[in-house]
């Protein structure tokens, strides 16, 4: 996949359905931290959150197979719905749901202390990430998070997102403008 960074979430879902498995990998890269943060906020348990995050994306894959979702803009609402359902199902069962992974024949993955530390690092950003992601297109959210939250320079972000630094600047600028408009509207 060339120049993937500018591809919309909906396009990644379509490419996945067309047999491009790397497209789903990119969708995972884009959103798994966000889903993890969402789950951690609610479960307050890193291990449970990680397990449910894996279940969420396995469920998303099966959801695409069953009939691709209509994604207009960000995939976040779709993924959060799946995550919430996995969480509720797990609560009812009294154990972390793993039906989707079982259907896909995915082996359980052990979670070690370093994994847990990394998830806990995410917890501080949880509220901000969720707020931002709900309001911004995926590419703007990605650029803004890399620049503002991760404090990376434009050149570094551009290399990761496979675009020019000027494009990154423009996305960050648009993201800030979008958030400002949203804030003014609420006021």
């Amino acid at each position: 996949m060339a120049n993937d960074a500018g591809v919309s979430d909906g396009e990644l879902v379509r490419r996945t359905l067309d047999g491009d498995s790397a497209a789903f990998g990119l969708l995972y890269e884009r959103w798994h931290e966000f889903v993890l943060a969402f789950l951690l906020k609610r479960t307050r348990d890193p291990e449970v959150s990680m397990d449910l995050m894996a279940e969420t994306f396995a469920g998303a894959l099966l959801s695409i197979a069953d009939g691709p979702p209509a994604i207009d803009g960000s995939a976040a609402p779709w993924l959060l719905t799946i995550a919430r359902n996995a969480m509720v199902d797990s609560y009812r069962r009294g154990a972390v749901e793993h039906a989707a992974r079982r259907r896909l024949a995915l082996d359980p993955v052990a979670i070690d202390d370093r994994d847990i530390e990394r998830v806990l690092e995410l917890s501080a950003e949880t509220d901000m990430l969720i707020t931002l992601a709900a309001q911004l297109p995926a590419e703007q959210f990605e650029a803004l998070r890399a620049r503002v939250l991760d404090e990376r320079d434009y050149g570094d972000i551009a290399r990761q997102l496979d675009c020019s630094p000027a494009v990154v600047r423009k996305r960050v600028s648009r993201a800030i403008a979008t958030l400002r408009r949203a804030t003014e509207a609420r006021a």
């Binding site: 359905l17 047999g19 990998g25 995972y28 798994h32 894996a54």
Partner: protein, 445 residues
């Protein structure tokens, strides 16, 4: 990205590759077929390891081998070893029999058949599978039993806790009809999500027990309505058709159960909510004394059968309350169980103790426990004992969910009820009885 996150990503990409590769290779029918087979192996239960030694028997091979199949290990009981006094009970050997009903499979091989099993807890169960040398079983194809191509006996005790075979249990005075529009070639339902198996490997299976008054069923096919007689006595029928439409591959199955009736005529509702796709039961013909009549449309008999008024749903309020004593004791749960229930450690299970005012001698009745939180006044959870109980017996039962003393559940109330099971709840005049109620606040430790 941590190692865990990286491994999950790699797993998901691998699964996506398996799931959607057929679409990419659609220009080559051969590639599509090969991929579908591989996907099916990966998808199905008791997944076969993807090794070269695996023998995948295509339909023709099974048909050819039908006269000399090897026998493999029996179908395991997913519920573990059954006991006579709990769950569905165990088969009463003298009352279990393989019906003479045989239905050819669309691609040949062992025919389909049905066994009727009566259990120690008063149930009548129908099992559907393939019949080979007079025995009911499943075939080692479609990813099942490592695709070993052998015949695997389906024991008469494989009844409870399985959703992987065509098995339905009802009370003796009940009738039912069941349909699964997308089962595999052993009768196991194909998951509604996941890899798309080739349509030709799927079967649409319809079966049921319609009672002694039923004489025939009329069902839809791709070429119109057909009518076939049912087995005399129990009114058993079994229809197996190929799945003609690709869109039906992921249709869910459905079962309707008639109300218990001492009169012997209590037909199940015909509407399975599956639409009028192939293999749907459109009508059932009955003989009631000198009257030949039908329920549904399209049957040879034009006279509609008399129908009784459907029972009203039982009210949940106004139930008789016995106010028996109920003792609760908190039993500390493991930290792992607390985490799994999203509760802080420590959390607790509850040991309930009460005297049973009524006996439970069959699967028609049960004691159930319902928990209700004062802060929301909504039922939170419920579970059933699902076992026989002697009248006057002191019942000790550990809750199957956990509670936190610091959360809303600290105010939770547990209520023990004696009630008909879901099978018998439509029986008129049978209301739940509240046996005992107690609050977690008063639980001992």
């Amino acid at each position: 990205m941590s190692e865990f996150e990286s491994i999950i990503k790699a797993q998901l990409e691998g699964a996506a590759e398996t799931l959607f590769r057929p679409v990419r290779a659609a220009s080559s029918a051969e590639a599509l077929e090969a991929t579908n087979r591989a996907g099916a192996r990966r998808r199905r239960r008791r997944n076969a390891p993807l090794i070269a030694a695996v023998v995948v028997l295509a339909g023709g091979a099974i048909a050819a081998a039908a006269t000399g199949l090897l026998t493999g290990s029996p179908v395991p009981n997913p519920a573990g070893a059954p006991v006579p006094y709990a769950g569905y009970g165990v088969p009463v050997a003298a009352d279990s029999k393989l019906l003479s009903l045989r239905v050819a499979d669309p691609e040949g091989g062992p025919p389909w058949g049905m066994r009727i099993v009566r259990t120690t807890r008063g149930l009548v169960c129908a099992q559907v599978g393939r019949v080979y040398r007079g025995q009911l079983g499943q075939l080692g194809i479609d990813g099942v039993f490592h695709n070993d191509g052998r015949f695997h006996l389906l024991g008469s005790d494989v009844l409870f806790g399985t959703s992987e075979a065509e098995i339905q249990c009802v009370l003796p005075s009940q009738s039912f009809l069941s349909q699964n529009p997308s089962a595999d070639r052993s009768g196991d339902p194909v998951p509604s999500e996941g890899v798309r198996p080739p349509t030709r490997e799927l079967r649409s299976i319809s079966y049921g027990l319609l009672g002694p008054h039923a004489t025939s069923v009329t069902y839809t096919t791709s070429s119109g309505l057909l009518t076939t007689p049912v087995s005399p006595g129990m009114g058993a029928y079994l229809i197996v058709q190929p799945v003609a439409q690709a869109g039906l591959q992921f249709s869910h199955g459905s079962t309707t159960i008639g109300p218990p009736s001492k009169r012997g005529f209590a037909p199940p509702p015909l509407d399975l909510g599956l639409g009028r796709d192939a293999n749907t039961i459109a009508a059932v013909t009955y003989r009631l004394g000198s009257l030949t009549c039908a329920i549904g449309s399209g049957a040879p008999a034009r006279t509609p059968c008399p129908t009784s008024r459907p029972p009203l749903p039982l009210p949940r309020t106004g139930a008789q309350n016995l106010h028996e004593p109920l003792h609760l004791k908190l039993v500390k749960d493991t930290p792992r169980a607390c985490r799994a229930a999203f509760l802080n450690d420590p959390c607790y299970q509850v040991l309930l103790e009460f005297r049973a005012p009524y006996a439970v001698t069959s699967a028609a009745h049960e004691y159930s426990v319902e928990t209700r939180a004062d802060c929301s006044n909504k039922p939170v959870a419920s579970w059933s004992l699902e076992r026989d109980v002697k009248r006057g017996e002191t019942v000790k039962e550990l809750s199957n969910s956990s509670f936190s003393p610091s959360a809303c559940s600290a105010t939770e109330t547990l209520q023990v009820r004696f009630q008909p099971t879901y099978l018998a709840e439509a029986r008129s005049g049978q209301r739940p009885v509240i046996v005992a109620t107690a609050s977690l606040r008063n639980a001992s430790r």
